[in-house]
């Protein structure tokens, strides 16, 4: 013990910051810790996780290798009913963890009403609502069908979908074509113009894109995302650069394969007019990337997060190491900038599969790459940087391909470790759009939120309990 008297004092101050004053005064090296108590995991489970940290680390390394070596590419298009495993006419896929009709939020119900009318299963919203409430229609999470959908995330059998293949592992993920802003199905709108747009997308957008992609063979999504991060996107709330890059890749093939110049122009104008066109692809790319973690042996007990998704009522997560179990908690209402005429009182709790981007080290985790949208996080570039820096505290790795120029091209924080979330009580930071809580109105704002603690706490408990039973 005598040794501390002979060493130069060097202090870690956990608590009252005023205690660091004499250190400053005396030139004593110190670090101030911004302490926040961890989430309330029962001590015996915390100890079990600690005791098995080597097993967990090993599984995480295997999972992380797969995630980082994923190569998602857009390889084609087709109809949901033909491609998506388990898809049928009477099944509707939705965002987030499983939920039954009665507990669904307004925008999700609206999206389902719209989808039933779009499918011709109902002629009016009232009829659609009755049908949805009956047992004839099954609801299932997109995530359980290798798919992802933004906001309400509604996918029905007739909808065209992108095929995103992870070329390193062969697994595939699906997502619909993004409808654009305004009154759209994903925000729960189901009016005539919504259905009309969907039909146009089926009749014009889909065949033109499908032929163009066939012509190109594939579009490397990982490369587009990596470039877009260098161009000010975080590919969740900002997709302008990625959409432009996709447009550049597709345009010559569309010009060549469209049936007429006016058809080509209509499709190109549609993409050009929708800065979020790439969002569904960044989501599918993220999904295809993360799926790979569970392909093969060696990831049992991994504490990495496989999925974060919200259905507008609940926020759910899945872990790489606990199979397909969902851990859920109430979905929070995002802090947002609202469109004129709307307030937080109009906002629906958080909704959508788009948090898959954060799960893959993009979106809110990469917001330091996206100074153009810092109004969402407090207005200063430093705020955005701080959010990204904080996410390194809860992730297992730095991305080998996705980088942040402002941080000297440091890889984005990738692979959320639920143990770190629980221990440090730092919750994943998510960019998001905000839907009106009533069906049929649409988007009312955009903003950010921290994931709620409950799902992570439950997941850590589930992980710990699973270790004992094995």
């Amino acid at each position: 013990m005598g040794e501390i008297f002979e060493q130069k004092l060097s202090v870690i101050n956990i608590g009252l910051e005023s205690f660091t004053e004499p250190f400053r005064n005396r030139g004593v090296p110190f670090v101030q810790v911004d302490f926040k108590p961890g989430l309330n995991l029962p001590p015996e489970l915390r100890e079990r996780l600690a005791a098995n940290s080597q097993v967990i680390e090993l599984a995480n390394r295997v999972a992380m290798d797969r995630i980082l070596s994923a190569r998602p590419a857009l390889v084609g298009m087709g109809l949901a009913g033909d491609l998506i495993p388990g898809m049928r006419k009477t099944r509707i896929l939705h965002a987030g963890p499983p939920i039954e009709w009665d507990r669904m939020c307004g925008p999700m119900k609206g999206g389902i009403i719209g989808a039933l009318m779009y499918e011709g299963l109902a002629a009016s919203p009232e009829e659609a609502e009755r049908l949805a409430g009956s047992r004839e229609i099954e609801f299932s999470p997109c995530h359980e069908h290798a798919s992802v959908g933004p906001m309400a995330g509604i996918i029905s059998a007739s909808m065209p979908v992108f095929i995103v293949k992870n070329e390193a592992f062969g697994n595939v993920a699906y997502a619909t074509q993004n409808e654009g802003l305004g009154k759209v199905l994903r925000y729960g709108a189901y009016g005539e113009e919504v259905i009309r747009r969907l039909k146009w997308m089926d009749a014009t957008l889909y065949p033109v894109l499908k032929r163009a992609i066939e012509k190109l063979g594939k579009v490397d999504l990982k490369a587009i995302i990596a470039q877009a991060l260098h161009m000010g996107d975080e590919v969740h709330n900002r997709n302008r650069a990625a959409t432009s890059l996709l447009y550049r890749a597709l345009a010559p093939a569309i010009a060549e394969t469209a049936e007429s110049p006016s058809q080509a122009a209509a499709v190109l104008n549609f993409i050009n007019g929708n800065d979020h066109f790439f969002l569904n692809l960044s989501m599918a790319a993220s999904k295809a990337t993360l799926q790979a973690a569970q392909l093969g042996e060696g990831v049992e007990h991994s504490s990495l997060v496989l999925t974060m998704a919200r259905n507008g009522t609940e926020f759910g997560i899945q872990l790489v190491g606990t199979g397909s179990t969902w851990y859920t908690g109430p979905a929070p209402v995002p802090d947002a900038l609202f469109f004129k005429g709307y307030t937080k009182a109009d906002a629906n709790p958080d909704i959508g599969d788009s948090a898959i981007t954060e799960t893959a080290g993009l979106g809110g985790f990469a917001i330091a790459a996206s100074p153009a949208i810092v109004q969402f996080v407090g207005g200063e570039a430093q705020d955005a940087t701080n959010y990204t820096l904080q996410m390194y505290e809860i992730t297992a790795a730095e991305n080998n391909v996705y980088q942040i120029p402002f941080l000297d091209f440091r890889g984005t924080p990738t692979g959320i470790d639920v143990r770190k979330v629980v221990e440090k009580n730092i919750l994943p930071f998510i960019d998001t759009g905000v839907a009106h809580k009533k069906p049929g109105i649409g988007q009312v704002g955009a903003g950010v939120l921290s994931a709620p603690p409950e799902p992570f706490l439950k997941a850590a408990e589930g992980l710990a309990r699973g270790i004992r039973s094995s």
Binding site: S10, P37, P453
Partner: protein, 519 residues
């Protein structure tokens, strides 16, 4: 009147921030009551009493923040709750630059050479952080209180087994390698090593030594419970060992309220045959050591003086002579002061921010003042039936729980003691006010503007009632402290406050005044 509460799930702020925002709320127009607290079970009770309760609050847990306001209208209450939310955000944005580490481990990545963790977070989280720090090979100073006894014992055993210091819990102060930790003073470096189970005692002794021209090698605070039977003096003994070994330490000064007899036995064993002089101030304990291994002293001043004598090779009897001389000088002063009192001014009223002083004053008064009351009774004093009202001779410790719940330490926040000073001044039975003022890091940075007007007002109040009110104060600190002791003393002298160099001297003077007044 309407109340509005908001529960912010999982939102954590340190206590200083919460108190700052609570103060902000209480200052707003139209607010009758307000609270900004973590939803612990105790706080929920407080919220219930204050009418700031609802089903939301009932469901909240200790990791959730509750902001409650009772105001003239529900609309105003809701608006102020939102204003409080904005105030809370202010703090989190002041830390310029990158985000701070959020855990011990990330801090260690930034500063791998760290060798001490100073922990002052809420007690229910502090033990786990302390354990982590010890596991990573760091010495620990635990400023936090409210740590269960078993946790303290476990931490200290673990620390001792790894040769690591565990100072605290509830260790207000320490000086390691010349660096003041928490509520410590800027004292000179020297050859006297202190082990103290008493925070204010350590501050007082180290300042006296420094002001006498000597200095401190190391000062280790163990927390008051260390010398109790349950903890068994683990760290007190450990610290003695290390100071006996430390080549920079030539004299040891041990400070504590009386240790448990078993612990005292171990301490005496430990210093048996020591090659360095060991001075002990075990307040109120005769500390008779037949073997003569320690030199027992009666007061902190006595201990400091003898340590100074020992380290400068002077005869310890010189210290006794000096103390006796000073006591005689005080006799005359006391007689003069008492001569100016009115009929009916009979009692001493001691209002303290430092807990050790409360004990020391009771020890000094024990055989001299009859009918002595305290909210922290020690020795033969009686427990104050109402800590908020003085009765006969009374000494109050404003650091006790009844005064500190939800407030900063009284060495920082003078408001409650200030209020009481004025109450005592109005009381025709008050013969003398006895106060302490502790300077140093952690203490109120600019005490005079808060204290002086109150002292002036107290005397004016007495004067208006035709009474003279002597005020005696001891100032614990050094000129190198951020407040600069001599400047403070000068201003107090100019305001006709009687300043003594030590609490022992101040208490003795005040007791003498009360003795004369009683005749």
């Amino acid at each position: 009147m309407a109340a509005h509460c908001e529960v912010r799930k999982g939102e954590y702020h340190d206590s200083v921030t919460l108190m700052r925002v609570a103060k902000f709320l209480s200052q707003q127009d139209g607010v009758t009551d307000s609270a900004v607290v973590m939803a612990t079970e105790e706080n929920k009770l407080i919220l219930k009493v204050a009418g700031l309760f609802g089903p939301e609050v009932a469901k909240a847990t200790e990791v959730d923040l509750v902001i409650g306001v009772q105001a003239a209208s529900g609309e105003l209450a809701a608006k102020l709750v939102q204003a409080a939310v904005q105030e809370l955000k202010k703090k989190s944005r002041t830390g310029a630059g990158g985000p701070r580490p959020r855990s011990l481990d990330s801090a260690l990545e930034l500063q791998p050479a760290a060798n001490l963790a100073l922990i002052s977070i809420a007690g229910r989280y502090a033990a786990a952080e302390a354990r982590k720090a010890l596991e990573r090979g760091l010495h620990v100073m635990l400023f936090s209180d409210n740590i269960p006894l078993e946790a303290e014992v476990a931490l200290k055993k673990f620390g001792a087994s790894r040769g690591l210091l565990v100072m605290g819990p509830d260790a207000g102060t320490a000086i390691i390698g010349g660096v003041p930790l928490a509520f410590a003073n800027h004292v000179s470096a020297g050859k006297i090593g202190i082990v103290a189970a008493s925070g204010t005692g350590l501050q007082e002794a180290s300042c006296l030594i420094s002001n006498l021209g000597q200095g401190i090698s190391q000062a280790i605070g163990t927390g008051g419970r260390d010398v109790k039977k349950e903890v068994g003096g683990i760290m007190f003994l450990h610290a003695i060992d290390s100071l006996l070994r430390d080549p920079g330490t030539e004299v040891l000064l041990l400070i504590s309220k009386p240790p448990h007899p078993e612990v005292l036995e171990k301490i005496l064993d430990k210093v048996r045959g020591a090659k360095k002089p060991v001075i002990a101030t075990f307040l109120g304990s005769p500390a008779a050591d037949p073997a003569g291994n320690v030199i027992a002293t009666a007061t902190l001043e006595d201990g400091a003086l003898k340590a100074v004598c020992a380290v400068s090779g002077r005869d310890l009897r010189e210290a006794d002579e000096e103390l006796a001389k000073a006591a005689i000088a005080r006799e005359g002063r006391a007689r003069a002061e008492a001569g100016r009192l009115s009929e009916g001014q009979k009692y001493l009223r001691g209002l303290y921010t430092g807990g050790t002083f409360v004990a020391e004053t009771q020890v000094l008064a024990a055989t001299r003042l009859r009918d002595l009351h305290s909210n922290a009774p020690f020795g033969s004093s009686k427990a104050a039936s109402d800590p908020l009202r003085s009765r006969a001779h009374t000494v109050i410790d404003f650091g006790e729980d009844e005064f500190t719940l939800g407030r900063p330490h009284p060495m920082i926040d003078f408001s409650l003691r200030n209020k009481r000073i004025l109450e005592e001044a109005r009381d025709p039975e008050t013969a003398v006010l006895l106060l302490d003022l502790v300077l140093g890091w952690g203490a109120n940075r600019d005490p005079l503007p808060e204290l002086l007007p109150v002292l002036n007002q107290a005397r004016a109040t007495a004067r208006a009632a035709g009474r003279y009110l002597p005020i005696v104060i001891s100032v614990t600190g050094t000129d190198s402290d951020p407040q600069c002791r001599s400047k403070i003393v000068k201003a107090l002298n100019e305001a006709q406050v009687i300043v003594e160099n030590s609490n022992a001297a101040a208490a003795d003077l005040a007791i003498k005044i009360a003795e004369f007044a009683g005749r």
